[in-house]
């Protein structure tokens, strides 16, 4: 499937939105589509990561990287269609330069980062080290603020000192592990975006 930028905009139905804001002097940017990059690509079905419609997507993978994402024509809900966010899904991994060449999205964090007390910048860390640091912080906070029994002497095994958020962006299996580990830690301040 070949897409020019013009037909991409048309497909995603966003020209109306662009028109409503025309005249406010918003800056212009340039992007173009490399039309042949899905040639010889392997197709892997997945699910769109944005809203709750749960559209099926086909990821086109060449040399183990995603070169394009489009709607899954076999999916009963979207039958091949996607909205503007879904159509831009691969932008989370790759952006395109002025010549239309893909390069990794530089906004992605690719190394664990740490910001120490009073510091004004991030510092890169190794996974092993940062995981030990986080586990130590959790343990210290939990140990200093753990309520094993309440005033009545009943066992309550909780701490108010740790808060937990999320996530609606993660899978069911991940959320299951989150719930299991949070409760084991005694977390009672727990929420996700169902309220936001």
């Amino acid at each position: 499937m070949k897409l020019s930028r013009r037909s991409f905009l048309k497909l995603t139905g966003t020209t109306a939105a662009a028109a409503t804001l025309a005249g406010t002097g918003f800056r212009k940017a340039h992007a173009s589509y490399e039309a042949t990059r899905v040639d010889y690509a392997k197709e892997i079905p997945s699910v769109c990561t944005f809203c709750g419609v749960g559209c099926g997507v086909i990821c086109h993978v060449r040399d183990e990287v995603i070169v394009s994402v489009e709607g899954d024509p076999d999916h009963p809900v979207n039958e091949g269609t996607l909205c503007s966010k879904g159509s831009a899904y691969s932008n989370l991994s790759y952006i395109f330069d002025e010549k239309g060449k893909p390069r990794p999205n530089p906004q992605r964090v690719t190394k664990p980062l740490y910001r120490g007390p009073g510091e004004s910048d991030w510092e890169e860390k190794e996974w092993d080290e940062i995981m030990d640091m986080v586990a130590e912080r959790i343990k210290k906070t939990r140990d200093e603020n753990f309520e094993h029994r309440n005033e009545n002497g009943d066992i309550v095994n909780r701490t108010n000192a740790i808060s937990w958020l999320g996530s609606a962006f993660c899978t069911d299996e991940e959320n299951y592990l989150f719930h299991k580990m949070a409760r084991a830690m005694g977390v009672i301040n727990m929420d996700h975006c169902a309220r936001l």
Partner: protein, 794 residues
Amino acid sequence: MTNHWNDYQHSDVFIAIGGNTAENHPVSMRWIEKAREEKGAKLICVDPRYCRTAAVSDLWVPLRPGTNSAFMGYLIHYALENEKYHHEYVLNYTNASYLINEDFYFDENEGVFSGIEEDPARNAHSYDQSTWQYQTDGEGNVLKDETLQDPNCVFQIMKDFYKKYNVDNISEITGCPEDTLKEAAEMFCSTGEPGKAGNILYAMGITQFTHGAQNVRGIAVLQLLLGNMGIAGGGVNAQRGQSNVQGATDMAILYHILPGYLGTPQEVHPELDDYLEANTPESGWWVNTPKYMNSLLKAFYGDNATLEEAYRYLPKLDGKDHSHIAMYKLMGEGEVKGMICWADNPVVSGPTTGDKRRYQAEQLDWFVSIDVVENESAAFWKAPDMELEPSEIRTEVFILPATIGYERDGTKANSGRWIQWQWKAQDPPGEAKSDLQIAYMLFKRLQELYLEEGGATPDPITKLTWVEDYGKDLDEDQVDLYKVCRKVNGYYLGDGSLVENFVSLEDDGSTACGNWLYSGYYNDPENPNCKRREREKEGIGANLNWAYSWPLNRRIVYNRCAADPQGRPWNPEAPVVWWENGEFKANDVPDFNADLPPEESAETPFIMLPEGQGRLFSSGVNDSPLPIHYEPAESPVEHVLYPNATHNPVSQVFYPEKLADRGEGYDVIITTYRVTEHYQSGSLTRNMPWLNEMMPEMFVEVNEDLAEEEGIENGDMVEVESIRGKIQAKACVTKRIKRLESNGKVYDIIGMPFHWGHKGLSTGASANDLSPSIGDPNTTIPESKAFLGKIKKV
């Protein structure tokens, strides 16, 4: 959702209210369009703005933000007064005939029910609900009047209660012209006719109010009256804003529940027996609570603890609120020391707190962000409006780089409860890891630390089954996703074989199951149900062999209601279940015992409830047994229906001094929303160049009359202020929002998307710097969709 996206094709009339389907769930519009093209269905859009859903609708109903409850009350009034309700359905499948305690009353002056009492600890009121109960005979059977004439029966109480919700009053409250209201009522209530289907779809524009649960109840009650529950094309359909907000809710990333909607243990129930007794009703599906709870305890602690010990390990709640707003208040008070945020960006998406900006994150000792980008919450210490210098902020901040959808395997549940497998297509960039692996690694280290060093009450941590469950025989830090799926699905502890579904679960500790609702989704490792990709060839669009839907692959819940008590389908064109030649046939998985004769299953079609029948009147809510209209906490008008009432008296109030009263100069109504091109707090989409190109920056929609008065032109910078803060953004002067006139006064509304913050490729002001931290009494969801402010040109 009680129904699902494909099922929209069977609707005759849609109401899109408190949501903007065309912009925020764009692909679902194709199923609405299909119903319109193929069967002449009508679409009513209820929205303060002439949004893109309104633009394609058959009827646009503009309302003042915060008055959905009045509108729903009017539709209920219209159905009752004009006898548009589905009489046979109401009589057989709802509690319309049930008699309510004779001491129950409603005080029309105050706008409150019997049992109201002061609740100074919460700065609010609460209810003693003892008079909200059914009348019973000596043996506990509910007394009913099937003629629906007894003044104490639910039906008569409703007729009386909704008298005031007439078109004059509701037009005055909502600012919507009477003719438009009447047209909407007539159009939607036409679905009360047997065989017709009405569908109400909504989102956060219904829920994010101090009366959010009342709004949802209003929808549910109307759907019960019109016979629209459990049928094809009907339902109460919450359109979820995120790809797995349904699954994260099912897995209970919420303080008040455990996976599968089991209640979180309370300190008043210190032992398992206390919990089971308090949480197991005598009838309805929840009689199975002990099976589900005990299987969950086994999934958590396996053979490392008895059921009783495992229960003691779980944290017990202290009777207080611990949801989003509450935990931020605790943070401000210095009680919360550390915070873990998985792909969440509360600095942008949550309501503002007291005086302190950026959510008091500087109060924390440490903050961990597991995300794919540096979001505003992790970078709170860099915010341009942060009053402290970074050198003054002692908080340690960690970013653990994670993955987006197609970078890992696993399931997500869409709005229609379809649990779909998301295949991994590529590795995450650099050293980023899947959230599953990060969670596994983190708890593994915590467990090792407690095993090595001991600490405060180590058993709940050290006894939790973890490495032996998910990482056994694997390389260091590797986690086996299949073993997590197996745990969620459930298995027999004896031989380790998978249970077929939750019907197999036991209460004696012989089965383990991480979430009973998901049981069955992965019961065959060779061909798991959640990976199925077979489209339906004939049927009603249920697509039973595509993915797996909870519970038990049922696509339309309460589907016994799709047929009359004798088992004849109300709508033979789209039959869901029907009785034929001595047995039930179905185009879906029956959500009832299909082995029973139809007259018997018709007695309890709402299987989750102890009484088995839909609740027009409910004592299960904290603030009102009948859907009621209250004003938002910040409202420019007096209550038209109840002279001494204002907003919901049972609301969860956190910062009373941070709410504006009428007449304090804050008289413009502000509402917030989303746009197609951005997603929630924008931390992803504002880092996607294609989307920024289409929707490049923050804006404030201002109506033409207000703009003229304030001298604001399209594109001018404006300052919007509430009692809680100020932001600046460009004005978008528009015809989409009109000045409302009601009772000789005019009301201006301004609208803002809430997607922006100070990080990313596109930066801008956060609308939620203005929104209040006050919540619904049932859910504590913040009131983000209607509050007061002022606007001026900069």
